[in-house]
Point group: C2
Chain length 443, copies 2
């Protein structure tokens, strides 16, 4: 076999430990919040029959699927999101108790043009509730999402909420007809944070053929400040006499009533310009931005999709969910200096004084672990300076070691790389000192 | 879009919450042990350039790759294991500090004929140490693996260890020459637990052309009981004068010295018949079986692969690792009744007495969560019997609720579904009772 150049595909990336340690720590926090709201884990295959995924994301989405014929000639594709596989699962396993709350943390694949912050493989963290039509389910997804951002220490975030039915009412009023044309308008509106009002107006005019009067009416409504559920209830004129529009107003007001009563009102704003690009939304839609970092894009978004299940079943089952863009959040928190890199995962580094003491080191390292202190042991003995430098590079604050004197006295030497202080103490005292250090001894 | 039948590909599967809850809990324990030994997380793409993977697993392995042309016409494949991507990462990122300890928990894909317990997508949990040639690295991987099985509560397991160089010496002595022929013998030997001695003898005779004398000599050595490092050192005659064989004996004896001194000797046995199917092993090889459940196959296996890195680099970098078959372990522990299914992940279920109290329920549920008690709230109010039945089906032991009387008195009702007892107490007492229940209130 000839030698092969080690490289990754464009749009894909490795997370080396220094980058993956804070990322995995964040994922653990996310999952803990999901579970504290009673969401259960679901694992689905990376590969699905292509027809399960096709026609769910719009034509552009179909083009972006990693689709191929497998070894048995089956038409298969890598999943594009976690929502359609969830719908497939619920349709397939009809004995699931409703409402079905699940979370899933898993990569998805989209063959997009790679760019800054845009990758062909990225991790999604989704919570969804299937089988409950009331605004309580929408509120539950919002609240668990807001609690996740709080638990991660994301500063100054705000969730912007809207309802597709209000947009439907507005499109009725503006006179945009036909499913395809309406979706085209929504997809253009969805670009508002990226291309601005002028860009959106140009595309609405050139690509969708919306006249100046319609565009002006649209933007008059989209730009309205709306204060809480009372503000939403006063929106009737915006949707004219549209029945869909009025239903959307009721749904959004009910949702806000719940989250305001639950004390989340300060983190939620109505934004009528939120449209979301995916075709399958039917009601509530949400996006979440971090103040002064809007350029990062939405870090958490989702909505209600009451008709998706009907693509697999004779009946319709209501569903709502929210998806956290964890990789984008990791970049943001690193950018803000709120999470830092270290390359070691244990609490202390155990240096090996000499070959004779190696076996003893393995034993006291085991005793430290049983006492709850993680230990990375050196695999080389002697040349202590080199071992200390490795410990320091990996971000350890404490090095533990045992020279012949300590060994004879059944003690350990504990060196604090931050202060330079070294003490000779027994194992229990090592445990006490490391556990009482801020951040459990991580330098 | 026509309606599509909801189904998964053959050889793939969904883990619904009831099955995924114990699985995820086990994964958390596995990762905690990995990290307590200082292994850091690594995440690599699911897709690699095909030439990165080809030629590493033998011809059969190449055939089992999910390989296709992507949208840009690149020859790509889904990863087949986590070892080759690790080698690619180390070859590509040359600034990594050595020894490099990493863990990775991720699915791999093999287009094998699906069968009982054999899937086309399965999760691997790997720890590896790259850049350290001494037996200490082999011992470290063994010990972290043994600690993982202990932490998971796997009963009566034993790790069987061997060294490829000893097998090399034996093949020298038996007169099997040529890389391909030697690998063929090892792959047949690897089937011993599945097809028995008679099956292996038949294949060695028919497919590799080994004569009766050679086979008999082989089995005489493979079947020898070898007691600890002293027993290994007495094996010199088995490998005749082979230099490779004698080096293997030294390596295996050194490895056993370390694990015996560290107190792991009771969980490790030498088994000269362990061969491992993959081509890339060069030294230590291990497999782990659960007593009385040998039919489940090895639950943890691995070995040293000192030449794999040279397929990407001009230089050779030594490496050793071990891989836990978590899905097989989950089946085993379920089979043994050691892990059970529940469909809820929170600690208590909050029932909603009536619509009026729904907002208050959301608030006291939040207060319970802040006190460390996970709460799944009902999304429907009233019809309490139905809510209680859902809580019971999802495996909750406690239901918390607040009727008008409790609301007026600022108390909560806590019902224990196991004992039937219901008490009216304040929120702090709910927290105290739930947290002091065995298993944190899980029924």
């Amino acid at each position: 076999m000839a030698q092969v150049e080690a490289r990754v595909l464009k749009g894909f990336r490795d997370y080396l430990p220094e980058a993956d340690i804070p990322r995995q720590a964040m994922l653990r926090k996310v999952v803990a919040v999901f579970e504290s709201f009673g969401f259960g884990p679901l694992t689905t295959p990376a590969l699905e029959y292509a027809d399960i995924l096709l026609g769910k994301y719009g034509e552009e989405g179909d083009q972006l699927l990693y689709r191929f014929a497998d070894n048995g000639g089956r038409d298969v594709a890598l999943r594009y999101d976690l929502t359609v596989p969830l719908a497939r699962v619920v349709a397939q396993h009809r004995s699931l108790d409703m409402p079905f709350r699940r979370y899933q943390v898993a990569p998805v694949w989209r063959a997009e043009k790679p760019g800054r912050g845009r990758f062909r493989e990225f991790l999604q963290c989704d919570v969804d509730i299937v089988g409950e039509a009331s605004a309580r389910a929408d509120a539950e997804c919002m609240m668990v999402g807001l609690e996740v951002l709080g638990a991660l220490g994301v500063p100054g975030f705000v969730m912007r909420v809207n309802n597709r039915k209000i947009l439907d009412g507005l499109l009725d009023r503006v006179g945009v007809e036909g499913r395809e044309r309406r979706h085209a308008v929504l997809r253009v509106m969805d670009k508002l944070p990226k291309i601005g009002r002028a860009g959106v107006e140009a595309e609405l005019s050139d690509e969708v053929g919306l006249d100046a009067e319609a565009r002006s009416l649209l933007f008059e409504v989209l730009g309205r400040p709306v204060a809480g559920s009372a503000g939403v209830r006063a929106l009737d004129d915006a949707v004219g006499g549209s029945e869909a529009g009025r239903l959307g107003i009721t749904e959004l007001a009910e949702l806000l009533d719940i989250v305001e009563a639950a004390g989340y009102g300060d983190r939620v704003e109505v934004d009528l310009s939120i449209a979301r690009g995916l075709d399958y939304y039917t009601g509530t839609i949400y996006e979440t931005f971090v103040r002064d970092r809007e350029g990062f894009g939405s870090v958490m978004s989702g909505g209600r999709y009451d008709t998706l299940l009907a693509m697999f079943l004779r009946e319709s089952i209501p569903a709502v969910g929210i998806s956290l863009g964890i990789d984008r959040l990791v970049s943001l928190l690193v950018d803000l200096g709120l999470v830092g890199g270290r390359a070691g995962t244990a609490d202390v580094f155990a240096a090996a004084f000499d070959d004779e003491g190696y076996g003893a080191m393995v034993r006291w390292a085991g005793a430290l672990r049983r006492a709850g202190v993680g230990v990375e042991t050196s695999l080389v003995a002697g040349r202590l300076g080199k071992q200390f430098r490795l410990a320091e590079k990996k971000g350890y604050r404490f090095v533990v070691l045992q020279g012949p004197d300590e060994r004879a006295a059944d003690k350990l030497a504990l060196k604090d790389l931050q202060s330079g202080e070294q003490v000779t103490v027994d194992l229990e005292e090592v445990v006490r000192r490391v556990r009482s250090a801020p951040d459990g001894g991580h330098g």
